[in-house]
Symmetry: C2
Subunit: 239 residues, 2 copies
């Protein structure tokens, strides 16, 4: 039987009970899911996602390395924010990182009832597709969006994954969000950078001079690592 693919455009639209048996792919391209993939590629041992600022501060007070931002800005108590370029080998290798972001980390909590929760980005897309295709489960592509709103960059990535999974012949979809994501990816795939030039997050990052990482976040094949949630922490499958 064909497995199904669903896509969720916002945390406010997520229906946990629908995806208990699914692989949920966490998508926050600019920048949390790209940063998480980078951290593991650079040897991070574990990432503890936390939704709240107070919880993140509490971890900091207990001596943890903390990455935390809101609206792109590093929180005052944190060691660094959520640019993937912060998660260097020197800073993260072998370390446990506590991580809290505006959108991305919250959806990991929302999805925590699912069978498998993995983090996806263009950086690990190739490995992610192979691995996902081997799970023999329905797939939920969970876009973080921006403050509960739909965003383009997460959607085109969901469309890229859905297109490739359907090409394997193992999946189908009757989800309008997935169909829209696939169509938008078709418009974007020749030049994703140009396509998301119009997106709101692109403008936000440019205004805050935080857009230096966009080319990197859209590059594929950077890592084979797939971050997955185990016991409320993200760890690398390939660890």
């Amino acid at each position: 039987m064909l497995r199904k693919i669903d896509t969720c455009f916002s945390p406010a639209l997520y229906e946990p009970e629908q995806h208990k048996g699914s692989v949920v792919i966490i998508i926050d391209i600019l920048r949390a899911s790209s940063a998480i993939c980078t951290a593991f590629a650079n040897g991070a041992a574990e990432i503890i996602p936390v939704s709240g600022i107070d919880e993140a501060r509490d971890y900091k007070n207990r001596g943890y390395l903390v990455a935390a931002e809101r609206d792109g800005y590093v929180l005052d108590f944190a060691d660094f924010g959520n640019s993937p370029f912060n998660f260097t080998f020197e800073k993260v290798s072998g370390k446990t990182i506590v991580y809290s972001t505006t959108n991305g980390t919250g959806i990991i909590k929302l999805a925590s009832d699912a069978a498998i929760i993995a983090v996806g980005s263009f950086l690990n897309i190739k490995a992610l597709l192979t691995w996902t295709g081997n799970q023999d489960k329905d797939v939920m592509l969970f876009c973080a969006g921006w403050k509960n709103r739909f965003n383009l960059e997460d959607t085109i990535f969901a469309g890229a994954l859905a297109s490739e999974l359907i090409k394997t012949g193992k999946y189908s979809t009757i989800c309008d969000s997935t169909l829209a994501a696939i169509d938008l990816w078709k418009l974007a795939e020749n030049d994703p950078r140009a396509y998301i030039e119009k997106s709101a997050q692109r403008s936000r990052l440019r205004e805050k001079k935080l857009d230096d990482c966009i080319d990197f976040c859209l590059s594929t094949g950077f890592t084979e690592i797939i971050p997955v949630l185990k016991n409320n922490s993200l760890v690398s499958l390939n660890y």
Copy 2:
């Protein structure tokens, strides 16, 4: 100053406080907003939108003409459901209709704080564009979706409106939902019927043999009437 266009894909994503000064266009192409436009074109005096089934039943008991459906099926106490073909001149001319549907009528209530609330469909798109462009207000394109989920048919209609409004030179958008809707409309505009063939609602209506109205719901120029909300009832602007 350019007026802005926002698009909301689901009742669950609507932010009432953001749109108090806006024209909100209510969009539920298959089938509530098409049915409402048809009712007024056929002379209905007033449509009272109600969200709940009990409220609709109560109106029926008080002698009102009631159109009510859930998941496409006419409710047992109702006079008819929400196919536009139900709202004939013989049935609705001069009448007050109480109307309750799965998705469309609920969003009218959600939007009720906005400056102006109007109902849009392909049937009245031409008049709607002219009128909206003359309001000198920001525009919110509010898609009913399906049970809080994104749907394609409402989205392409939002994209059609946004594309045309931007062409007037009076509007711009930095809303990713609007940008996506415009891109999807570009894919659909040559043949909207073929484009929505893949949509979930298309399948649902086909399975229930309720798809006879789709060609009609996608036809443009059927009426010049613009239904607007006044004192919790829809009336025709051109009345």
